[in-house]
């Protein structure tokens, strides 16, 4: 077990990797090397990294379309991630999924989902399997505060609460659902008031300090692993960019954004490390290592083979059908 300081250094490095990865992705998007929807996680990195630190490699993780951060935190290589954004065969989903649909089975990152509320029941299903096979795993499912009004949220939490599934539901309350502040979509301020309606534990905290996230999520994960059932967690956070690349985020003021940036999880971690006596050269070393990796992943993605037609056909059905190519025709 690494000392707190080394662990925090590792967390900082991962958060910095995520930040830089997405900054480069945004640049590539502007250059039309990436298409479709691109939802950035910038500002929320402490939640992905802190949560991952509370999990084992065997635990399952589900996320929305805002999935680059957790994918990298789980251990996906920047190469596989960037190649996916570029629509290449070397991508984590072989160029078929894109930004919203990252998958990394080896690291038990199970997507990458585009329909609001649609993946919560899937996560409950993975947790159901863990209970069924007694494999000792815990499932973590992330979603946004805007996803708490939809039926998929309710049904998944109802079943998880009823069956005491080993799962932790983490609501990343980044204050907006596209252009809509929560004040316009919920009469509640504290979303954990919903937890008892599902007979489950609730917890609520700020997600700016990666250590806090790791600790509080850790408590819920332990409860789940002990068979004491699910937890509904609301984490306060903020996204610094628009909902997706096409959103200029006119609905909030510069001042609000600047204010929020004071709680940038990377700045907070950097300050803590300084306090802990980590010197500039050590920080520079880390940042150079990350810069090199990000630089390399962009080159790798640009040079990689495009997604393949035969893969498109061969993945419609897993069963090897004679009729596989166009079963519909």
């Amino acid at each position: 077990m690494a000392s707190g300081r080394d662990e925090l250094l590792a967390h900082y490095e991962k958060m910095f990797e995520i930040r830089r990865f997405e900054e480069e992705a945004a640049r590539a998007y502007a250059q039309s090397k990436i298409g479709g929807f691109l939802h950035l996680y910038i500002g929320q990195e402490a939640i992905a990294v802190g949560t991952n630190a509370a999990l084992t490699d065997d635990d399952y993780v589900f996320q929305t379309y805002r999935d680059h951060g957790i994918a990298l935190a789980r251990g996906m290589s920047p190469n596989a991630a960037m190649a996916e954004l570029f629509g290449k065969d070397a991508g984590c989903s072989r160029g078929l999924g894109g930004s919203m649909h990252f998958f990394d089975v080896e690291n038990n990152f199970l997507g990458g989902w585009g329909i609001v509320g649609g993946h919560l029941a899937l996560a409950a299903g993975a947790a159901f399997k863990s209970k069924y096979t007694e494999d000792g795993r815990v499932t973590v499912c992330f979603f946004g505060e805007g996803s708490t009004n939809i039926g998929g949220f309710h049904e998944a939490l109802s079943l998880a609460g009823l069956w005491k599934l080993p799962i932790v539901f983490i609501c990343e309350n980044n204050q907006y659902a596209m252009g809509t502040p929560m004040s316009r979509t919920s009469p509640l301020d504290d979303l954990t008031l919903k937890a008892q309606g599902y007979g489950m534990q609730g917890d609520r905290f700020q997600g700016y300090d990666v250590r806090t996230v790791q600790e509080r999520v850790g408590l819920a994960v332990k409860r789940a692993r002990r068979g004491e059932g699910p937890t509904f967690i609301e984490v306060e956070t903020y996204r610094f960019r628009g909902h997706s690349m096409s959103d200029p985020a006119k609905y909030r003021s510069r001042a609000e954004l600047e204010e929020r940036k004071k709680k940038d999880p990377l700045v907070i971690a950097r300050d803590l490390l300084k306090e802990a006596g980590v010197g500039d050269e050590q920080m520079d070393e880390i940042e150079e290592r990350v810069e090199a990796a990000i630089d390399a992943c962009v080159k790798f993605a640009a040079a990689a083979e495009p997604a393949k037609e035969e893969v498109m056909w061969d993945t419609v059905y897993a069963t090897d059908l004679s009729t596989k190519r166009g079963a519909g025709r």
């Binding site: 078929l96 029941a121 998929g152 897993a318």
Partner: protein, 327 residues
């Protein structure tokens, strides 16, 4: 061979497969303690216990999603919809998740889940409970859609569906559950491959294509027509996606005429799809337009006198065959 009811054949298929592979479980409303709304799962709870026969709250989107999620990580769920009408609240789980995951993940995940339950009209259950859902699910690549008419096909195809590595939409019939028919003895395992149709009756004058309950309507019409000297070939595709196109084309090439019978609404669906394939691939062999005998294009009324008008009848099939044979 022995005689079994369609319901019993389905039950046997589940029992045999669950005995073989303990990753398989059955989940749905009233499947356990109540022994199944239509008694298909009668006795399964006692045999396999609450771990593998799971009663759910009324939350189709939730437990359909749980099935898909569990399948993603290695289990083999059988998800029962009390009726397919209730799959509409779970529609997104089937089209956006079940059917997409294998491809969306670049082939890295697969979803061996079976969704099953009764499809189509029962008797006077009115418009919200009388849907034939085959037009919706057959449109979707990534899904298999199966609709057996006989007890033998019900058992053999359900076993194949449970063994399939992809999501299968398995459409039964409430009015078929009591139908009796020959099924191979317990010791002769029969797994009927998905995607293969069946010539139920040979004939040279006209091909009648029908699946599910209308299969019986088609057979009755064929009998009646035979008595009048018109020999119909009855083809049951059994699997609607993928369709056994070759079998149907071959038959039409022989008879040069074709009539379809189905309970789904007229617009689109397997009915129109089969017509399209035949006119495209047997164009020069057709001596008459292909006709369809579908349900009428109305929400299902409650009154029994009207319900009888809406559903395909033997007489409507006979008339259609006479029109295409210019008899």
């Amino acid at each position: 061979m022995r005689e079994l009811r369609y319901r019993e054949a389905l039950r046997e298929a589940m029992i045999e497969e669950m005995d073989r592979d303990d990753r398989i479980f059955l989940m749905g409303e009233e499947v356990g303690h109540y022994q199944g709304a239509y008694k298909v799962s009668e006795g399964l709870l006692a045999q396999f216990g609450e771990k593998r026969v799971i009663d759910t709250p009324i939350a189709e989107a939730g437990f359909a999603g749980v099935g898909v999620g569990a399948a993603m990580v290695g289990l083999r769920p059988i998800i029962e919809f009390m009726t397919w009408n209730f799959s509409f609240v779970a529609f997104d789980q089937i089209i956006s998740n079940a059917a997409k995951i294998h491809q969306m993940s670049g082939g890295r995940l697969k979803v061996p889940v079976v969704f099953r339950g009764p499809n189509g009209a029962a008797k006077q259950v009115a418009s919200q409970h009388s849907h034939s859902v085959d037009p919706f699910y057959t449109n979707i690549p990534g899904l298999y859609v199966v609709m057996p008419a006989t007890p033998r096909d019900a058992k053999g195809l359900l076993k194949a569906a449970i063994r399939c590595e992809d999501p299968v939409v398995f459409l039964e019939g409430e009015t078929l559950y009591n139908v009796k028919g020959d099924v191979p003895d317990a010791d002769e395992e029969e797994v009927i491959p998905l995607g293969k149709g069946r010539i139920a009756r040979e004939g040279s004058d006209c091909t009648i294509i029908a699946w599910g309950r209308p299969y019986y309507t088609a057979m009755a019409a064929a009998e009646q027509l035979a008595a009048e000297g018109t020999e119909c070939e009855v083809v049951d595709p059994r699997t609607l996606r993928p369709l056994d196109t070759d079998l149907m084309i071959e038959s039409v090439r022989k008879t040069n005429r074709c009539v379809l019978v189905h309970e789904h609404w007229p617009y689109g669906g397997p009915g129109a799809e089969i017509v399209d394939r035949i006119q495209r691939e047997a164009f020069d062999h057709l001596d008459a337009p292909i006709l369809r005998v579908p349900a009428l294009d109305v929400p299902m009324p409650y009154a029994t006198n009207l319900e009888e008008l809406v559903l395909p009848t033997t007489q409507r099939v006979v008339d259609a065959v006479k029109r295409v044979t210019y008899a």
